[in-house]
């Protein structure tokens, strides 16, 4: 990696990118092209509201409601909209179902395409060169690095998002969750499971029962 690491614990001169951003924002405000409150609102929305909790709710609903799951797999965009989720990003959302014989995993090798409406903005590793270059060529090895061992009998499908279609994985509902409510299930679903680099795990109960 770069040896040009900035130590964020000590205040120092601003990075070149920070300075250029400041200069750009100042000029765009002065030209009347942007307003500060709109920029603040967009940053806040993506930091606080548009995130993987939306996707987790979609997954949990699909697990408890077979008719919803059917609609979700047939038309992901409409089924996500049904729950009221969005983002100012037009996208065709396609949901890929993991089964005992198929494991799906999503990447964008050319840039960083990602289903914002259900997962928010992608984590750094999704945008980094290692993941983008490797997961199409050696998905089993990459998933193993994530701690996910996919048996050879299970087909791995890597989906390279290069169009207006945005893919989300519907993970398998883990055994032992039959008694859980939709809200409890929602809490189990992780961002990584909806990208396809993890399965959904049931936490081991401690100190109860």
């Amino acid at each position: 990696m770069s040896g040009n690491h900035h130590d964020s614990h000590h205040p120092g001169p601003e990075s070149s990118a920070a300075l250029r951003t400041k200069a750009l924002e100042a000029l765009l405000v002065e030209k009347g092209l942007i307003s500060t409150d709109v920029i603040d609102a967009v940053v806040r929305a993506y930091e606080q509201d548009i995130g993987p909790l939306n996707g987790a709710r979609v997954v949990a609903r699909a697990w408890v409601d077979a008719a919803y799951k059917q609609r979700l797999l047939a038309d992901g965009t409409a089924a996500v909209a049904e729950l009221g989720f969005g983002a100012p990003q037009d996208a065709e959302i396609v949901v890929l179902e993991n089964t005992p014989t198929v494991h799906n995993v999503v990447v964008c090798t050319l840039c960083s395409c990602y289903p914002w409406a259900v997962l928010g903005l992608p984590p750094s590793w999704y945008k980094d060169y290692a993941y983008r270059s490797r997961v199409v060529r050696e998905p089993r090895t990459v998933l193993r690095e994530f701690g996910l061992e996919v048996p050879e009998a299970v087909e791995i499908r890597v989906w390279d998002s290069n169009s207006d279609v945005r893919y989300m994985v519907l993970p398998e509902r883990p055994a032992g969750t039959e008694q859980m409510s939709e809200a409890e299930l929602t809490a189990l679903v992780t961002r990584d499971a909806m990208i396809g680099v993890a399965n959904v795990q049931v936490p081991v109960r401690v100190g109860r029962g």
């Binding site: 709109v38 909209a81 903005l121 270059s133 890597v158 390279d160």
Partner: protein
Amino acid sequence: MNGMHDMGGMHGFGPVVREENEPVFHHEWEGRVFAMQRVTPVPIPGGSRNNIEQMDPIAYITSSYYEKWLHSRIKGLIDAGALTAEELEARVAFYRDHPEAPVPRREDPARRQRMQERLRRVVESPRLDLPIQPQFRLGAAVRARNMHPPGHTRLPRYVRGKRGVVARFYGIYAFQDAMPAGTEAPPQPLYAVRFDSRELWGASAEANSVVYIDMWESYLEQA
């Protein structure tokens, strides 16, 4: 273009590095860049991705994700005539010399209201309702064309010339590749095509794995 960004299948980038409890933005400026990119009402000539792909390959590799967005936004504003390089550099120099100087603020409640409505809008499909008949059926054997356009394309190198099978038909979508000056890209049928890993990676392919990738019709020929 055959650029640095087209990295599917490359070696040499090492393990995938993850960060626990990663923030959405690592630095405040990243959030400002993201938001300015989304809301500045000046379209980027040639598109934002094209600006990033046209970066010098060494700059592409060594710039962070939001540094690339910043570069693309600035170049787009300059190309569109909304900003000059000189005024930007002058302002950068001003903030370097006066780090305590604030960024001017401007409030526009009507615009903020419209943005907040957009942020609450449910997701919509960009599929186009046009009477175009797809040329390939589900299950058809196809080959990705072996083409190397110098401009923007969404056809990665690692599938060019490779044989696959049409797995899904998504409908009609706007075509995103760069077109010759003065011509508009006609919308096209869009498919997901399934490629066997052995077709893509030969003997080094991992067992029981496939790649699906979306294909506008002009990327495909009959196999």
